[in-house]
Symmetry: C2
Subunit: 303 residues, 2 copies
Amino acid sequence: MLRVPNHQVAGHRAGDGKLGPLVDDSGLFYKPLQSDDRGSKEVFFYTSFSSNTNIPNHIRRFFPTFHGTQLIEASDGSGKQPHLVLQDIFSGHLNPSIVDIKIGSRTWNPQASEDYIQKCFMKDTERSSLALGFRIDGLQIYESEGSGFWKPDRKLIHKYTAEDVRLVLRRFVSSNSSAGVDPDCTFASIVYGGSGGILAQLLELKEWFEHQTIFHFYSCSVLMVCEKESVMKKMSSGAEVKLVDFAHVVEGKGIIDHNFLGGLCSLIKFISEILTCSDVHTAKASLQDPRKNYIYTNCDTDK
Amino acid sequence: MLRVPNHQVAGHRAGDGKLGPLVDDSGLFYKPLQSDDRGSKEVFFYTSFSSNTNIPNHIRRFFPTFHGTQLIEASDGSGKQPHLVLQDIFSGHLNPSIVDIKIGSRTWNPQASEDYIQKCFMKDTERSSLALGFRIDGLQIYESEGSGFWKPDRKLIHKYTAEDVRLVLRRFVSSNSSAGVDPDCTFASIVYGGSGGILAQLLELKEWFEHQTIFHFYSCSVLMVCEKESVMKKMSSGAEVKLVDFAHVVEGKGIIDHNFLGGLCSLIKFISEILTCSDVHTAKASLQDPRKNYIYTNCDTDK
């Protein structure tokens, strides 16, 4: 039984007769092949990545598992169409908070057509890619059972400045994540920090990108996922980093992906700052009141 | 007594009534202020960098010492003109081999004028900046007392591909650095390797660039310097890394310089590869003939 995914924050959405990805109950994600060469490029990437023995296993886990392609009934009613069959990243999650971050100050590869480069160049400049080396492309942040998810409109996301990005990355790890409130970064040390946290995972990716010259990942996204409810119940935070969207991946030809690496390092810096900042407050809070486990102030007030 | 520098591989050159930098015998380098806002920007950079207490000393050594500005007789006979007074990086050197590498896939900052961006964009695409994250902007490599320096024409340098860049970086550390010969990378382990070598220095810079959000260094160069004759006489290799040209530096505003960092990591990868490659050969050579100190084969022949 195929259905529209519950948790999708960017890209084309299925439903209302539109073409988009579908999921099933066995944990698979079916992504329709885009009709231009992007579809075939993504298949080529997954095929080549899966069979490449130079990809270490600790890096492979950051990519959705690939299960080939399959003809299935498309979500727009256009009949059977080819789909990529991938691991459904969110199948084990109840209320995942998700941020989709497109990495790189450039989303186009130098071999693309002039028109395409021009289009991307404009978008990269208007949005935060050029300035930050990455941009937020979609997000949903779980607030509570009552209010559900905070999922801002795409048009708002497209206008994000450096400060907005900082705020979103703080809200992602806060217990008071409703608008107008200063995010408390309560979960920062659990979700971003620690040996299994998001920062550690990003640093592992970074190390690989410092050496790998196999692929250049243009217009590819890092998904950051966590489960706030699990954190509150002292269960695993489910903090996970996944790379998705490989329709613009090209061969590295012996050169590292300096565009992706630079952007990734910039994201790492943003997250390190939130972590350092909330560590200071954890220390302060425990000095003031040893029973306090959470951080109630935010870092900016000290600056 | 001011004179035209002996060792200059890029930028405007003095002499023949042209405006360019001058040096004196006390180890100072006088750089004329460029008449548009580039001159004032470079003064601003040096002033602000010198007085910034957040720059660690181990990073400060990668920058030429700044001695203020001074009105001196310009090299083009236009009378007294303002000059930056800087440390003459090559004053202690006899026959320095030098490679000037402009770092970053972009040499323009996003706030520059549209015309300027367009001009730089074209140049970055034509030359290797976009592909490699850096480009060689000038070089001189010492060959021998008889043949002096290999100093290819700028027009040739402008056409360098990834393979040409690799070759230059190998010739820079080779004892047989004349054209048509496969570079032997004899000095790689001494000049690039070791705790005081160029790779270690670049890695130190990289670590700083992963955190620093004070400046963005557009169109800035890394100079790599060494003295082959000293290496042969078992003296210090004089292996040095210096950053120069700050006319396009802008404030970082809390964001890391992902453009510079990405390009720097790409250069580091090129140099690591030469080093790994020549290590293999040193090991091989010593296995075959324990008396051999030098590497006579080159890495490519094994691929």
